[in-house]
Amino acid sequence: MARQRHWLEHPVTQNFLVPILAVVLSFSVGAIFIAIVGQNPIEVYYVLFSQTLGNEYGIGQLLFKTTPLIFTGLSVAICFKAGLFNIGAEGQLQIGAFLTALVGMYTFGVPAYLEVPLLILAGMVGGGIWGFIPGYLKAKTGAHEVINTIMLNFVALALVSYFATNLFNVPATVHTPPIAPSGKIPRFDAFLSGFEGSPVNFSIFIAIAACIFVWYYVQRTKLGYELRVVGLNSKAAEYGGISVAKNLILSMTIGGALAGLVGTNYVMGYKYYFEEGFSAETGFMAIAVALLGNNNPFGVILAALLFGMLEYGGLVINTMVPKELVNILQAIVIIFVISSNKIFRKTLNNFLKTRRLSIEQ
């Protein structure tokens, strides 16, 4: 007789159940910390959830925080697929967003149907170059991409910081002049009054499109196949006639270009200029997003939503608990979700097994 499968054993159920369980557990650990600083955890969590998920404004803020995490999460994920560890998303997004603003401020009078693609392209080129460099160095010299991407982060941050505070800034500010009005991406609140005041804008659809592109590229094209083979076993790939060097460079360049799209959210969709220090280290959070999303483009969306919620939620509860506690809470969630995957799955399956045995006996 074929063994009946318990519904809890189904991989799809588990894929959802395990992270949810981990999040719940991490929140209860977080509750202890909240109680330690003398606040009421239930009250804090109530505020956290009701202000992020309870109204359109909160959802808008959450989505606004999610968008750059999707771009950078994808950037890290596609590099992972090729076996590369891209720590450089922060630098790539800085260069990309700055280039978007730079091109935008010099192209007044260009119609929107050209200006928008032009600025998007500028961001991709900027980020792409910043991804290409470590990819090329890895392919040609074997220099480790982790070191080179970290170093290029410093270079990017310093360069952009200098440009945005000295060469291209509005005097006495740390931001550039505004981009041409035709390059603006509309905000949700231009159409839906419920989102009034929240900066969420249509760049989130560019992010979703990017997800579909990455999925299609990796899973459905010949190049994507090569990329995966290189990631799984580069020696075997070489032996099979796949150019490892080409795929390393290509994946880093695409990864950089994806990170470079962050400017669509902030520069084209929100402030309409580049500002020094706008990103708050999104590019580093992206590594956790990619890992949590299992390097799957759609997993990245879900992970980015969770992190987006934590980021905005952190701000929401900041009037009740200190900022350090918000950081602790975020860190606990990340650690639990990422490390508990195996533990929970095993525990769950063992639990089911012992239960079955006891029923059969």
Binding site: S28, V29, Q51, A172, V174, G197, G277, F278, L315, K323
Partner: protein
């Protein structure tokens, strides 16, 4: 074993939840409408021993002597400033919101327009006379040049080498105000004195680079300067380090920095962000909030000053102190106009 693990986790979860419930009193009643003060810190937030801490001090003063309640937010990145301001502004109980730092200029102007029935104030707001200020917003401006003028006068009177130094953080109009006022102060009392000027950099990082501060200070001391005034945030810690090493004097900024190098801090130019925050809360509470125009805190308003207390009294001769007090009075009376650029 694993079954037990699961049980433990569940027990743990329930315990912590009940712990949560236990500490659950009634939800705190939020105060009556427009009775509380909100404040959003600059990136960096509390603990900078500078204007963020000074602003916080103002809140505490207002709480102690006016009995107001306050809430604050420490945003993480540039995109958070507007949401933090908006979040406080949309609370019924909050009536007055502060932004700390010039970076808030655009954000707070926008939010002030979106919430016309709330009041706003912004420390170091970049005032642009061509743009209208919403009537519910007060840009807070300090006359840093006036305070710098006085410490410049002290340096000018006390230098033995006729050479003094200035070290700025990021080259910017704001820091140039300190430099220009200082130079004017030195020249006013000692026309033949020379002022060496150096900046730590051209990006905001120049405010967080003590190593660079030390390097610049050592170089100025070895060129003959015997007193250095810094306006460079954390970078200045390096200046004090150099002063201690070379056994020379340094002048602190923003707050009394005596403790950074006791015996080597001649004086400090204090910028009383706490007074500004306190004053505005007081006016607001009395129903006398006046927006649309910058509120200026200079020597006259006790917004800037120099330190002269039991610590540094032995370092500054009485004659120097009297002369500087006279200059201070002259500035307050308008007899001396201190340049700002």
């Amino acid at each position: 074993m694993n079954k037990r693990l699961l049980h433990y986790s569940l027990v743990f979860l329930l315990t912590s939840l009940s712990l949560g419930l236990q500490s659950c009193g009634k939800p705190k009643p939020s105060g009556p409408p427009n009775s509380e003060v909100g404040l959003v810190f600059d990136v960096g937030g509390r603990g900078d021993k500078s204007f963020n801490d000074a602003a916080y001090d103002g809140l505490v003063m207002a709480k102690d002597s006016l009995g107001i309640k306050y809430q604050y937010i420490e945003p993480g990145g540039g995109a958070d400033r507007e949401s933090a301001l908006r979040q406080l502004a949309s609370k019924k109980s909050v009536g007055l919101i502060f932004g700390v730092g010039f970076m808030f200029t655009d954000d707070i102007t926008r939010i002030a327009k979106d919430f016309p029935d709330k009041k706003f104030a912004c420390i170091d707001y970049t005032y642009d006379s061509t743009k209208a200020i919403p009537s519910n917003l007060i840009p807070i401006e300090f006359r840093e040049e006036e305070g710098s003028f006085l410490v410049g006068a002290i340096a000018g009177l006390m230098t033995k080498t006729d050479k003094v130094g200035f070290i700025g953080g990021m080259e910017s109009p704001l820091i140039r105000k300190f430099q220009v006022g200082y130079q004017a102060g030195v020249k006013c009392v000692n026309p033949k004195a020379k002022v060496l000027v150096a900046y730590a950099g051209v990006t905001p990082d120049a405010f967080k680079n003590p190593a660079k501060g030390k390097e610049l200070a050592l170089s100025q001391y070895s060129q003959g300067a015997d007193i250095i005034y810094h306006a460079s945030g954390v970078t200045g810690l390096g200046v004090f380090e150099a002063a201690r090493e070379m056994n020379k004097y340094a002048i602190g900024v923003d707050m009394d920095q005596w403790n950074e190098a006791p015996g080597h801090v001649l004086t400090s130019m204090v910028k009383k962000g706490n007074m500004a925050v306190y004053d505005i809360i007081k006016e607001w509470k009395a129903g006398k909030f006046k927006g649309g125009m910058p509120a200026i805190f200079g020597l006259r308003d006790d917004g800037v000053d120099f330190v002269y207390d039991k610590n540094n009294k032995p370092l500054i001769p009485k004659s120097v102190y009297d002369r500087v007090e006279q200059l201070k009075q002259d500035i307050i009376d308008g007899k001396i106009k201190v340049p700002a650029r």
